[in-house]
Every structure is written in structure tokens, then in C-alpha cells.
């Protein structure tokens, strides 16, 4: 380890300490609260197996919300990302759009959920709208960056044929950035399932609604059932997206056919 690394580590430690003072973080409080944690952990082990079917149906609603939110969000984000790409548009188009997308991204999904609960009332619809907003903000950014990074050779070659802008987008920009898009959709869906799981905290539907209720009434054993279901489903989704990724993305990025066992 060289002196430069030590300096960097020193700075990081100093920043963490400084930040903790500001937010009242105190290790003593943590140690004092520790016995409570043990008690909660003990109660959490008293799971109620009868609740599993309710938990799975709540999780099903969560996944439905995440699917709708991801699909609609991506469908809106795609055209926006094309308009926000600097290599395809004039400054007058991309600059305001980028500012708007940046504004959308500043809100975490839970804040969007609160906003939509106020507008459309309690329930999963508010949650779906929140997921849509969050997805638009992120997928549009990731995708316009992918579009800006595409190989300029086919763009130059096809533009010089004298094709229209829409044809260029259809035949070069979208195919060249498609492998990025698929991995972004998978990532976003995965992320949205986890996000949707907590949107219930503010009454925006999904499994989080049950979890927060049980925790509020100190029924940790019941909450555990729902959290376990979230864990299982997230793991399964993770496995599925790895399979999809291997099948479609790795192949096209390596530039050859590969057999993945």
C-alpha cells in the first residue's frame, strides 16, 4: 500500500466522521439499542406459515406493478432518449430534455409515490405511476448515453447514402444500441421489483403495505414471511435475468456464437 492510498483512506475516514457528527450518528446509541435488536430477531424467527399464500399473492401484485411500470416507463423513455442524444439532435432539443430528465431523477421513487397517492389516491395505481416516472428518468439517461457511445462508422456510412433521419435511427441507432437496451430493461425490472416492494410504505400498493403494517403492530414474525417472499422472488428474478443476459447479450457483444452451458 503506497502513501497516496493511505491519504485517500484517511480522507474517506475523516469525511465519514464529519458526516456522522452532522446527522447525529452515535455508536453509543447503536450499542444501547442492540438488546432490542436481539429481541426483534427472536420474534422474527416465529414465522407464521399460514401467511405464505397471502404473501405470494401480494408479491404477485408487486410484480404486476413492476412489469407495467417498467414496460410503460421504457416505452416512454426510448423516444425521449433518442431526442436527448447529442449526436442526433440540435442543442435546442436535447438540452431542455436533459434538464427535465435530470429533474425527474432527483426524486426517489418513494417521493413520486407520495405525490401520486395525493393525486390519484391510495392503491397500486399510484405505485405504478411512481415506477413509471423513476424508470423514465433512469432508462432515458442510460439509453441516451448508450446512443451517444455507438460506433460512428455505420452512422457515417449510412448517413452518406442519403437516408432520412428516421431511417438512420431505425436501421443504425436502434440496432446498434439494442444490446444495451435489453440489459437496461432487465436491470430496471429487477430494481423496480425491489422498489415496488417498499412503495406500500406510503400506501401505493404492493407487498410493502403488509410489511409496514405488521411492523407497526410489532408482529415481526408475520413481517418475516413477507420479507422472505420478497427475498425468494428477487433471487428468482435475478437468476432468470442472468439466463436472458447470457442468451442474448453476451453473444452479440462477443461478436460470435457461443454455447453457454
Amino acid at each position: 500500500m503506497n502513501p497516496k492510498n493511505n491519504l485517500i483512506i484517511g480522507i474517506i475516514v475523516a469525511v465519514v466522521i464529519a458526516a456522522s457528527i452532522n446527522i447525529d450518528a452515535n455508536p453509543v446509541n447503536f450499542v444501547d439499542g442492540f438488546p432490542k435488536l436481539i429481541k426483534i430477531a427472536e420474534e422474527m424467527t416465529q414465522v407464521d406459515p399460514n401467511l405464505f399464500h397471502i404473501a405470494f399473492s401480494a408479491m404477485f401484485e408487486t410484480i404486476q406493478m413492476a412489469i407495467i411500470g417498467t414496460v410503460v416507463g421504457v416505452a416512454i423513455a426510448l423516444p425521449l432518449s433518442i431526442l436527448a442524444a447529442r449526436n442526433l439532435n440540435s442543442k435546442w432539443v436535447y438540452a431542455p430534455l436533459r434538464a427535465l430528465l435530470a429533474a425527474i431523477r432527483t426524486f426517489p421513487s418513494i417521493l413520486w409515490a407520495i405525490l401520486f397517492v395525493i393525486i390519484v389516491g391510495l392503491g397500486p395505481f399510484a405505485g405504478v405511476l411512481a415506477i413509471i416516472m423513476y424508470t423514465i428518468g433512469f432508462v432515458a439517461k442510460l439509453q441516451y448515453e448508450a446512443i451517444e457511445a455507438i460506433d460512428s462508422d455505420p452512422v457515417d456510412a449510412i448517413s452518406s447514402i442519403g437516408v432520412s433521419k428516421l431511417q438512420l435511427i431505425r436501421y443504425v441507432v436502434i440496432p446498434e444500441s439494442a444490446s444495451h437496451l435489453l440489459s437496461q430493461i432487465l436491470y430496471m425490472f429487477d430494481y423496480n421489483v425491489r422498489q415496488t416492494s417498499i412503495l406500500g410504505l406510503v400506501g401505493a400498493g404492493g407487498i410493502g403495505y403488509y410489511i409496514i403494517n405488521y411492523i407497526q403492530f410489532f408482529e415481526y414474525g408475520k413481517a418475516t414471511v413477507f420479507m422472505l417472499v420478497v427475498l425468494i422472488v428477487v433471487l428468482v428474478i435475478d437468476l432468470i435475468s442472468i439466463k436472458i443476459r447470457d442468451k442474448f447479450i453476451i453473444k452479440s457483444q462477443r461478436g460470435m456464437e457461443m454455447k453457454i452451458k
Partner: protein
């Protein structure tokens, strides 16, 4: 129009490309091309040779309007090439440009890459849904047969070998029904047999349609073998232009010269 009717020849001048005292640069300090004057007649195979970095690719980009001269004038069929000018779009459709890197869309199939050459003459809305008129699809298959890739028309471009990729790029350019073909070192990295096959393909296309080919070569022997004219570029300047007529090589300034003399100048 019936298939048997012979096309009525347009009234055309002999010269299709004319460059007068053209200078251009990428940055303020250095000129990539200096004082280039040349004219290319319709139907010829015009070769440009020179060491790497001498300005060959730049010359092609000036002709297709991707770059602009800082001094001097260029006319391509009476028009000033400019890829950003709507008025030049019609001409762009008639210029088949194959960049050094080929510019294939790697995730699309061989057939789709070929069909792209027809995009300017196809209804935009239809083309967005990948709908091509059947005569265009037939033409694409015909060209792929000609370049020997018909059996791979459904392959993705990234699954092809270097020689196959060049054939697709040629098919795409010919799909444009071009008047001018600009090809940037498309045979430079290939083995002898394959590069001769590819040069033959272009010679064959030139015999069939009145195509003017401007081809950049690294290998001057290949240029002398296939071209009617060869321009040698060195450090951005045209140092020599020769006509090739069978074994006869004519330097337009000094009279006949031998192949050996040319090779020496090229060094």
C-alpha cells in the same frame, strides 16, 4: 417501361468529378490535403495510392461531402458535395461510399445491411416497418448471389469473416444503383486471392453499369493492375498522376515511364 427497351443515354459530359486546387485540414496547423487538382471521367476506375496518413481517406470524404475544402472547389456532377445540404441528398443516394471500416450494422443481417442501399428511394414509413418492395428484395438477393453470399443472407453481420464483410459492403453500395463508387482500402487487409476476387467483382459491376469507381489502395501493384488512372498522394499532395493502358504506363507530365520508376517514386 418494357424490359427490352434500351435506356436513352442522358447527355453527360465526360468529367464527373472535378477538384480544383483543393486544400483541407482537420486542425488549424496542418493541411491534410494541399493543392489537389484532379478530374475523373465517367466510367473509369480511378485509384488513389499513398502511404498511410498521406490523406487518401480525407480525399474520399471530400468527394462524398462529409468534409469540406478550406480552399478550392469540388464539383461532383456539377454539385458541391455537402452531406448536410438537402439539395445534395439525391446525389448522395448515387454515391456508394465504403469507408475503411466498412460501416456495417453488426446486429443486422446480411440481407438487411444490403437493403439499406435502397433506403433513399423507399417510402420512409414502409421502411420503418422493414417493408421493402419485392423487386428491391429480389435485387438484394441478386447482388448477394453475385458477391457469393446468398447462402448467408440471414447471418448477422458480426458473424462474418473480413472478406465476407467487404462483400456485404459492396452489395450495399451496388444496391444504391450508384453512379460513383468510393471505396477506401477495402482489399488492403485481405489475402491475394480474396482481394483479386473482390476487385473482379467491382470490375464486373463497372462493365454492367456505367459506374465510376474511385478506389483507395495501399498496394500500388493492385492499382496498376485494375485502374485506368492512378494518383499518388504523399503528405497531402498529389505527386504523380498516371494513366494505365495495358502494360503501358503514361505519366502526364514526362511521358512514358516504367513500373520500376513508379515504384521508386512511391517509396
Amino acid at each position: 417501361m418494357s424490359l427490352t427497351s434500351t435506356p436513352i443515354p442522358k447527355i453527360q459530359t465526360k468529367t464527373i468529378i472535378q477538384m480544383n486546387n483543393v486544400w483541407t485540414s482537420y486542425d488549424a496547423k496542418n493541411f491534410a490535403l494541399k493543392e489537389i487538382t484532379l478530374s475523373v471521367d465517367r466510367g473509369v476506375n480511378y485509384a488513389i495510392v499513398g502511404q498511410s496518413g498521406s490523406g487518401k481517406s480525407t480525399l474520399l470524404k471530400l468527394i462524398n461531402g462529409m468534409m469540406h475544402p478550406s480552399r478550392g472547389t469540388i464539383r461532383v456532377d456539377y454539385q458541391t458535395p455537402d452531406i448536410t445540404n438537402k439539395k445534395f441528398k439525391k446525389m448522395m443516394a448515387k454515391i456508394g461510399y465504403i469507408p475503411q471500416t466498412l460501416g456495417l450494422v453488426k446486429n443486422l443481417t446480411v440481407l438487411e445491411n444490403t437493403l439499406m442501399g435502397a433506403l433513399p428511394r423507399i417510402n420512409t414509413l414502409n421502411s420503418l416497418f422493414n417493408i421493402f418492395p419485392s423487386n428491391e428484395i429480389d435485387e438484394a438477393h441478386r447482388l448477394l448471389t453475385m458477391v457469393g453470399l446468398e447462402n448467408k443472407s440471414k447471418r448477422k453481420a458480426y458473424q462474418l469473416s473480413g472478406g465476407e464483410k467487404r462483400r456485404v459492403a459492396i452489395a450495399r453500395a451496388l444496391m444504391q444503383k450508384p453512379e460513383i463508387l468510393l471505396a477506401d482500402e477495402i482489399v488492403s487487409e485481405l489475402d491475394r486471392v480474396t482481394s483479386h476476387e473482390i476487385m473482379e467483382l467491382i470490375a464486373e459491376a463497372q462493365r454492367r453499369i456505367n459506374l465510376t469507381a474511385i478506389m483507395v489502395h495501399h498496394d500500388i501493384n493492385l492499382a496498376l493492375e485494375y485502374a485506368n488512372r492512378v494518383a499518388v498522394i504523399k503528405n497531402g499532395e498529389k505527386i504523380l498522376e498516371i494513366g494505365v493502358d495495358g502494360d503501358q504506363i503514361i505519366d502526364f507530365q514526362t511521358g512514358n515511364m516504367t513500373q520500376q520508376e513508379i515504384l521508386e517514386m512511391y517509396e
